[in-house]
Subunit: 136 residues, 2 copies
């Protein structure tokens, strides 16, 4: 395939998937945007200075990847970005779970591993905020 | 490469990247988790019932993919998941921008396309909440 053909092919694939492509990240952008359902969760620990509680929560989130309908997991901690009024840096741990569809998200909610995770973290967590997004 | 070798290779790659792999989504999970900085933004429109304002905001977010340090973009609207106390369905549009590093996120903030986007949406938007996450 020539370079021009390859670019044309990539542009066509992106258009079909409704993907916003960005420079050298194009191939990966397709992969990220291929997930129709995104489940964002932000956790505030009761003891935000406890490295042990934070590590327990992070490991627990990673374990959610074992649930079959969970297609990918991103686990985060607050990034040291500029303090601006609109940026909330007060949380402890973030997760993004990616699903193929709403049924996958529902199956995750009732899966025994998720139920066990929720029970395990309840004593550690002060507040949880969830945003469920469908690809626009 | 045999099937067993391939599984071993994939497991090794995932361990190196700190990726939580999930079933058939394994290859994609690597791609998603390869981005060290995730910039989540949730927008509440002043006129949440305006399909036109929503479309303008969504198109604006898609345009942010043109900024060189933006590696991938996911644009969302509230998913019709179960109403639970912890789930916020009140917002209008979500974006996830993926960056390679903090410098990339800072370059995005000051990029003329982002500045123009912020000016364009200011009259439309009532509230913005940002969470910046570094891969844990």
């Amino acid at each position: 395939m020539s370079g021009a053909d390859r670019r044309s092919f990539l542009a066509g694939s992106a258009a079909m998937a409704g993907v916003a492509m960005a420079g050298s990240g194009a191939a990966v952008a397709g992969a990220v945007a291929d997930f129709p359902i995104v489940h964002h969760v932000f956790f505030w620990l009761k003891n935000p200075d406890s490295a042990e509680d934070r590590a327990t929560l992070i490991e627990g989130v990673r374990g959610l990847a074992e649930i079959p309908s969970v297609r990918a997991v991103h686990v985060g901690v607050p990034a040291s970005t500029e303090a601006r009024g609109v940026v909330d840096h007060s949380w402890s741990v973030s997760e993004i779970l990616y699903f193929d569809d709403l049924d996958g998200q529902a199956a995750y909610q009732s899966h025994p591993l998720h139920v066990a995770f929720a029970e395990m973290i309840t004593p550690l967590v002060d507040r949880v905020v969830v945003y469920d997004a469908a690809a626009a």
